[in-house]
Amino acid sequence: MHVGIIFFLVILGSVLFHIFTPWYWTDIASNWQGMDDTITLTFWVGGGVFVAVCLFMIYCVFKFSYKEGRKVEYKPEDKKLERILTWATTIGVAALLAPGLIIWNQYVNVPKNALEVDVMAWQWGWQYRLPGEDGKLGTTKVVNINDENPFGINPDDPFGQDDIMIQSDVLNLKIDRPVKILLRSVDVLHNWYVPQFRSKMDAVPGVITFYWFEPNKVGEYEVLCAEYCGVGHYAMRGTVIVQDEQNYNQWLNEQETYSELVAKQNKLEIEKNKIVKKIDLN
């Protein structure tokens, strides 16, 4: 008797916990409401099955617990029942799979007007690069990376010259503009993840991976690395600031392009040479 009651309380407790939990979604701040909705749907269907199966089990425990000489049903198979259950399950599973696949289709097809952002990851930090006026990112190579060329941009690539470089782990984004995150890593696996945006993808050394979202709430969000990347994994954080157009443009204008950096460094180089020459003359 008490066995059934305890199991019943466990199920009841689970349902109540779900209803009254203070722990649930962090408020969504992107276009991926569909993911949340599919989870809610799966909760209803899956949770319903869980409760139904457990209540049936508990009923059996109450009703059919051992009694000497109880008459037991002897029915090895029931083709009809098995067929009904198979089809019902198949339909239920298909109903959950369909919205999942529809949303995945949106996830892998990036809108044409998405702003491309190069997210470069290393142990343990982030930096970002935006396309310049030509709207295209220059190509990069890991071996090109050095102090003068922190993103490893191919110096010969004309698209790379006006790229906007953000050597900081803070990225600003414009509200309601889709963003295509292009991920790359120079060492190990990483994953650029903002819980409020719901979306994520690994950064893999050697290839460029991508995903997209559309931030739709102004605010400051924490970036977390979501793929284990060594001992500093938990400290690999960053920030995203979603802004309205005016603030965003103001921020953008303050950023440096690759050619500006090269020019600045050439100037430094010339100054240094001058100093060296002066020292030589002296």
Partner: protein, 612 residues
């Protein structure tokens, strides 16, 4: 040549004897069982302590050896989980706990529990003990290879444990061992630690292949007369299918271990692309980290079912015996096990939806993954329908089975979340995943293991485990484990990522602090409760109630040996002859509520038994 003739004669003798036994009675026809096709095997009987208990060739002793070694690793894994929970619930409380240590404990806990504890326990432990007994064989077909299998496993465990004591400590690369970080500085134990892990895994695979071939060939070739495939207990079906999976999946682990060892030691670049580390470009180039993930999960996903299928099989038998009712839909259960096993090779990349593989794979792997839910759900339905109109003994064994159903359904449902590709995106790499796989392949199989221990201990040791202690053990474990993992899902909704040494300075995550403390306390209690079982076993071995023959009134062959516990050779002078499936419980018209598999039809003429 002359041997062969002798053998044939002895077979003929045997079969004509069987015929003679009933000649002249009407029962002769209905009791007929085809004669044996091959002669009985000769067994090597050990005489010294060493050959009887150490380098032993008796599958039952090997099973116990596997069991005890696996339990030892399990206790190590348990202690590691305590240390992790200490850090997560009460950061900073343990002064020695650095991020390096934390990641090493996470890694070793995961690898130990999945491979060295669960796999070895189900296949090496229960497989060795139960297969020959349940199919009516005297031993495994290759007893000597079987012995070596255990000792390879033992060496693998020793190598694994040795990695705790090498410079740099054990690997801290996560149990998935993803390169490049697994073999680069920046990950703890990236020197000797990872090498010993890879060597240990390779040894494990080699040892396991020896055991696995034994299980398969014993089941296929050494079944006793009348034991058709469709009369085998589901336990044997589960272990059989799991072993087939292991034979096909472990090679992927072996080659990936070897390739990573080469990357580490010889500087090859199987998994290593061009890498910039501390301002310098390393001498790697052209390799693919994602290739490793494909190889790993081609092993790793079937591995889930290598653990789950024996659990499915065992729990089916336990439920049937203790509900005094035939398992519902036996044939469906068999096909579900085989079907799940086959499908499990087509779903591996659902662990990799956000790994950076071609995203179009997502459609395929989400579909195959959700298809698996159908046969799995059928198994759940059949378990609960077996309870329906049964005569359920609410004893410790049944409690573990009920606990299994609750935790398995819970974990299965959350699997539908994670398998459904776009739902996985927000949840992957969060605590939702941790909660899901602990519920479905940690706690649920553990419930079955415990049920199986309480069920078969009387056979192994000849004494009944104490029921009262067993019930305490169950309730603390079940309620405790459920209250660890059920709320943990909600951490995943918040967005808390897994494998974080320290988390809680993020503004929206501070609400989780209380829950983490609660989970840690529950984990300490559940872990401690496992020592009730160890106490129970020691106490029972000394003063337990003698079990006698077939204390649960079960039908399958292991309870019908000539002695309890069964001696080497299992069945005395004559192998049993099987006349029916093992689920003839509460058959209408029968005198008792069970008909053992060895009972010939002529003894139960007026019953409506299943013709299997």
């Amino acid at each position: 040549m002359s041997d062969e003739i002798d053998n044939k004669q002895s077979i003929q003798a045997q079969s004509s004897e069987t015929m003679n036994q009933y000649s002249g009675s009407a029962a002769a026809d209905i009791d007929y069982v085809r004669p044996a096709e091959i002669p009985e095997q000769d067994l090597y009987h050990g005489h010294s302590f060493i050959t009887k208990w150490v380098f032993c060739q008796d599958a039952k002793v090997i099973g116990v050896q596997y069991f005890l070694t696996a339990v030892f690793t399990g206790v190590v894994g348990l202690i590691l989980s305590w240390l992790m929970r200490l850090q997560l619930g009460f950061p900073g409380l343990a002064g020695f706990m650095t991020a390096e240590h934390y990641y090493q404990f996470v890694t070793m806990h995961g690898m130990i529990m999945v491979v060295y504890f669960l796999t070895a326990l189900f296949l090496g432990g229960f497989g060795n003990y139960l297969i020959p007994l349940m199919v009516g064989a005297r031993d495994m077909v290759f007893p000597y290879v079987n012995m070596i299998s255990f000792w390879m496993f033992f060496i693998a465990v020793a190598v694994l444990m040795a990695s705790f004591f090498v410079p740099g400590g054990p690997t801290g690369s996560g149990w998935t061992l993803y390169p490049p970080q697994a073999i680069l500085e920046g990950t703890p134990g990236s020197g000797m630690g990872i090498l010993l892990m890879l060597v240990s895994l390779s040894l494990f695979v080699i040892g396991f292949t020896m055991g696995g071939l034994n299980y398969l060939i014993t089941i296929l070739q050494a079944r006793t007369r009348g034991m058709t495939l469709m009369r085998m207990p589901l336990t044997v079906w589960g272990i059989f299918t799991a072993t087939v999976l292991a034979m096909l999946a472990f090679p992927a682990l072996l080659v990936s271990s070897i390739m990573m060892t080469l990357d580490k030691v010889l500087g090859t670049s199987f998994f290593m692309p061009t890498i910039l580390k501390a301002g310098e470009v390393l001498e790697y180039g052209g390799g693919s980290p994602i290739l490793f993930q494909h190889l790993f999960w081609f092993f790793g996903h079937p591995e889930v079912y290598i653990v789950a299928l024996p659990a499915f099989g065992i729990v089916s038998d336990l439920i049937s015996v203790h509900a005094r009712k035939n398992i519902f839909g036996y044939r469906m259960m068999v096909w579900a096990i085989v079907g799940i096993g086959a499908l499990s090779f087509f779903v591996w990349a659902h662990h990799m939806y956000v790994s950076g593989m071609n995203p179009w794979f997502g459609f395929f792997f989400a579909t195959t993954t959700l298809i698996i839910a159908v046969p799995t759900a059928m198994k759940v339905y059949n378990w609960i329908i077996t309870l329906w109109r049964g005569n359920i003994r609410i004893n410790t064994v049944m409690l573990w089975c009920l606990g299994f159903i609750v935790t398995f359904v819970n974990g299965g449902i959350t699997g539908i979340f994670l398998g459904n590709v776009s739902v996985d995106v927000p949840l992957s790499d969060t605590y939702f995943v941790v909660a899901h796989f602990h519920m479905v392949m940690g706690i649920a199989p553990l419930m079955v293991i415990m049920g199986a221990v309480y069920h078969w201990f009387p056979l192994v040791a000849g004494r009944m485990l104490h029921e009262g202690l067993g019930k305490w053990h169950f309730w603390i474990t079940f309620l405790g484990a459920y209250s660890i993992y059920f709320p943990m899902h909600y951490l995943g909704f918040i967005g808390v990522p897994r494998r974080y040494f320290e988390m809680y300075d993020s503004p929206y995550m501070t609400s989780a602090i209380g829950m983490n403390e609660f989970i840690s306390l529950a984990a300490f209690i559940v872990g401690a409760a496992q020592f009730i079982l160890i106490f129970n076993i020691i106490k029972t071995l000394k003063t337990g109630k003698p079990a006698g023959k077939n204390p649960w009134k079960a039908n399958s062959l292991e309870w019908h040996t000539s002695t309890v516990p069964p001696e080497h050779g299992n069945f005395g002078d004559r192998l049993p002859v099987v006349h029916r499936w093992p689920y003839d419980f509460s058959v209408p018209g029968a005198k008792e509520d069970f008909i053992p598999q060895t009972t010939p039809p002529s003894e139960v003429v007026h019953t409506e038994v299943e013709k299997t």
